[in-house]
């Protein structure tokens, strides 16, 4: 494993620690050893290069560190989505392959995958996927495989990939009716209101809500 890869792993690990709190040198070492050799020499090397700052065992990303970590995190989490949504793996199974993908995806390919998946905002584990240029442009140039229900036809059977909404009331309500990622539904009606069949029950929802449900036609 060369230095560049270790750097990437370290930055990625710090990013994930910082998402849920802060990162200490101990935590970081525990996470990466023994797979990678993380010694103090490497850490001070990273600090010298301006990727991280270290104070009292607390280690944090600098601007430069964040800029370098963002695309890695993005590639990793998009890969997880690709593996679960399109290839049907469980989130647990994706980990190893996703780690490989994060090093090999070219920028153009990353955007293509992101568009194919309908610009998801969260990975299957619920962590945020950093936004890319394609998300800001909301590209639809490639036919997205994962679409919202508004893009589906009556009679389509859809496996839900994720619910795209910041409103926890909507997410909770849908969840309570059995509509969550991984479930399979059938679209029964689109006008005047959407009607979905899930298992034995039917759920009616308005267009805005149907627009939050993203899935893959199967």
């Amino acid at each position: 494993m060369n230095t560049v890869d270790i750097t990437a792993e370290v930055l990625e690990a710090i990013w994930t620690f910082e998402e849920v709190g802060s990162c200490t040198v101990d935590n970081l070492k525990r996470r990466l050893n023994p797979e990678y050799v993380l010694d103090d020499a490497l850490l001070s090397e990273l600090e010298r290069s301006g990727y991280v700052t270290i104070h009292n065992q607390q280690i944090g990303l600098t601007e430069k560190g964040i800029d370098n970590a963002r695309p890695i995190i993005r590639r990793h989490r998009l890969a997880e989505r690709l593996l679960t949504d399109i290839l049907g793996m469980t989130p647990e199974e994706t980990e190893e392959s996703a780690c490989e993908y994060e090093h090999v995806l070219a920028p153009g390919l990353t955007e293509a995958i992101c568009t194919l998946l309908g610009h998801p905002r969260e990975c299957p584990h619920g962590s945020a996927i950093p936004e890319g240029e394609c998300c800001k442009r909301a590209d639809v140039s490639i036919q997205s495989a994962v679409k919202t229900l508004s893009g589906m036809e009556v009679g389509d059977t859809v496996r839900i990939s994720y619910i795209r909404s910041d409103d926890h009331v909507i997410i909770n309500k849908l969840f309570s009716l059995g509509i969550s990622s991984g479930k399979t539904i059938k679209l029964r009606q689109k006008f005047p209101t959407y009607v979905l069949q899930i298992d034995n029950s039917q759920v009616a929802l308005e267009k805005n809500v149907a627009g939050c449900i993203c899935g893959l036609k199967i």
Binding site: N172, S176, S201, A204, V209
Partner: protein, 643 residues
């Protein structure tokens, strides 16, 4: 004083239950330092003064949302004696997982299986005794909107126990909870619950729990917390809830069974067609026509004619007269059979006129309701409702308004935003005639032309639409999303329909008929002291001048305030005696229908929306009624329309 906390997830009917339960002293203030409204009320249960506390629904107790924070604080700080966990029976499995979480607080709990009727519609049956046995506490079935099961709930409160919930947490987690709970000072209750909360991944939640347990800064506890969190790959809250869900699943499987919904392929097909735009409208039209013939023609024509003319007139009438003739006091004789007597104004209109029609209406309505049709109608009309600031969810309360406006006002509690509730209640008071009012209208209009009937209907309908559109524009927009489970369509159960009809009809007999008698007595008294004449003269410019109606219309208004249909029954007398012609009847109907809601409904609005909104509604609605009536009067005169 005993304290009862009403807890549960959003939309399970907690507040409806609270209002059905509570007797007096309702206060609703935000919990200190938050924007979470907490309602408190008092009720005597088994002679014990009890305070009921109602909090907004929560999906759990571990999140940082204010609702859940308040729920946690009330559970720990106010130490309620009993928790009433209100559950939506048709989603019992999820509700039981919440029971598991509440059980950790070591407080006696009664599980309230609300909306059993809806679960029944889905074919889900609960073996209540088994569930009681497993949980080792009381389980009560209710339909809070109809007040069913409230008395059973009274009995259950005293017998509530801390529920048994044999959840199996992973050993490392169970151990951590045990260690922490043993460290909590003795005087602090709910140790297991607090220990679990200390381990929560939501920083604010665990910090608050740590503070309650006086753990803040305790390095041993912090080390335990850290160790436990690191030993699981998933968030601790997720691990806890997965274990509770597993236990809930077992309980659910043991205590429920599914019976197939009674349906056929044809009925299912009709159910599907009922929510498609074109066929849906046809089906709606067909149902309305059927309703009109059954209620408007058969019940309002044939049966009412028999009851009023034959039964109360030629059969019972002479006997009453001969019995009354035995009374030596003319005053009392007049009070019973005179012009404003109890017999012609109280007994005959309530039992002869209104009761037969509403029974017919409740029966027909019950059949449609029990089939699951109304949810399809919600889907069909959702978009139209959007135009008046509501969504398909408001369909049910509005439809229910045709059964009883007061019941419908209670049912608006299913609406999520204040704006939607205000609009729905306003429209209900403005123009939706309850079955009792509807029944008298049908009788009155049975003798006039279809043109007059359509004029009344269309005017009221367009005014309601206009009011809805205006209100939805001027009120600050709070949107709620239309997400609704659609119950399966099925063959209505005759038993359910009969039960429901009986309950509703008895409700009318108990609540409404006394008011007919009160109204008769009031008019009789007002007449005797001469005030009635004075009132009629005083209101003459408005009634005679502006509305072009005979002065006796004031009597209809007085009766109408007690019960709308009693007021309209007076109109019938006016028409029958030739004091009013058809155009006048149209104007009079518009005013009585739209003006004042009956006393019961007014009290409900007052309770629900507060004095300011209630008065605003009444004033606006009454003004609207008078103006519409006046405008109709002048229009009809101007074009010389006599129908």
């Amino acid at each position: 004083m005993r304290k009862i906390l009403i807890a549960g997830m959003p939309g399970v009917g907690k507040s409806t239950l609270f209002r059905a339960f509570v007797e007096k002293d309702i206060s609703c203030v935000n919990y200190a330092g938050t924007s979470v409204p907490v309602s408190r009320g008092k009720v005597k249960i088994d002679g014990v003064e009890t305070e009921l506390i109602d909090i907004p629904g929560t999906y759990g107790l571990t999140h940082h949302y204010e609702n859940e924070l308040v729920a946690r604080r009330i559970l720990v700080e106010e130490k309620p004696d009993v928790i009433l966990q209100v559950a939506d029976t048709k989603n019992l499995k999820r509700m039981l997982a919440f029971t598991g979480q509440l059980a950790e607080f070591d407080i006696p709990l009664v599980l309230v299986l609300n909306m059993v009727d809806e679960a029944d519609q889905k074919g889900l049956k609960v073996k209540r005794h088994i569930l009681e046995e497993k949980l080792a506490t009381r389980v009560v079935e209710t339909i809070a909107t109809d007040g069913v099961g409230i008395s059973a709930l009274h009995d259950a409160v005293a017998k509530a126990r801390v529920p048994q919930f044999p959840v199996r947490f992973p050993p490392a987690l169970a151990e951590a909870i045990k260690v922490l709970s043993e460290l909590i000072p003795a005087e602090i209750p709910a140790k297991n619950a607090l220990a679990a909360l200390c381990l929560s991944d939501e920083e604010s939640t665990s910090e608050q729990a740590m503070e309650t347990c006086r753990f803040t800064g305790d390095s041993f506890v912090e080390a335990q917390q850290k160790k436990t969190r690191l030993s699981f790959h998933k968030p601790i809250d997720r691990v806890l809830s997965t274990a509770r869900e597993a236990c809930a699943d077992r309980l659910f499987a043991d205590s429920t069974y599914q019976i197939p919904v009674r349906t056929t392929a044809l009925i299912e097909k009709i159910g599907d067609l009922a929510r498609e735009p074109f066929t849906g409208m046809l089906i709606l039209f067909a149902l309305l026509t059927a309703l009109y013939y059954i209620v408007g023609q058969f019940a309002a024509g044939v049966i009412v004619d028999f009851m009023v003319k034959d039964f109360f007139g030629t059969i019972l009438g002479p006997h009453v007269d001969s019995v009354v003739a035995l009374i030596p006091y003319a005053f009392i004789r007049e009070m019973i059979t005179g012009k404003y007597g109890l017999y012609p104004l109280g007994l005959v209109p309530s039992f002869g006129l209104v009761l037969p029609i509403i029974v017919a209406f409740y029966l027909t309505f019950g059949f449609i309701e029990d089939s699951g049709y109304f949810s399809r109608l919600s889907i069909l009309l959702d978009r139209l409702f959007n135009k008046i600031g509501l969504n398909g969810k408001a369909m049910l309360p509005i439809i229910l308004g045709f059964s009883c406006v007061s019941m419908a006002t209670i049912a608006t509690r299913v609406l999520e935003t204040k704006k939607e509730r205000f609009i729905a209640i306003f429209l209900l008071s403005l123009g939706v005639p309850c079955s009792a009012k509807l029944s008298v209208i049908l009788v009155v209009l049975a003798h006039v032309s279809i043109g007059a009937f359509m004029t009344v209907c269309l005017t009221i309908f367009s005014i309601m639409i206009m009011a809805g559109v205006i209100l939805s524009r001027i009120m600050p927009s709070e949107t709620s999303q239309f997400i609704m489970e659609v119950p399966p369509i099925r063959i209505p159960s005759i038993r359910n329909v009969l039960k429901q009809t009986y309950r509703r009809s008895m409700h009318f007999v108990k609540e409404a008929t006394p008011l007919f008698f009160v109204g008769a007595i009031s008019l009789f008294t007002l007449d005797k002291v001469g005030f009635l004449l004075f009132l009629e003269h005083a209101m003459s410019p408005l009634i005679k001048g502006f509305l072009g109606l005979p002065e006796q219309f004031a009597e209809a208004l007085i009766m109408g305030f007690l019960r709308g249909e009693a007021g309209i029954a007076i109109l019938k007398q006016l028409v029958d005696s030739g004091a009013m012609n058809t155009p006048q009847l149209v104007v009079a109907l518009l005013v009585t229908l739209m003006s004042i809601p009956c006393v019961t409904n007014f009290m409900l609005i007052l309770k629900d929306l507060g004095a300011k909104s209630a008065i605003a509604i009444i004033v606006t609605v009454s003004t609207c009624a008078i103006l519409t009536g006046g405008a109709m009067n002048h229009t009809l005169k101007f074009f010389n329309i006599v129908f």
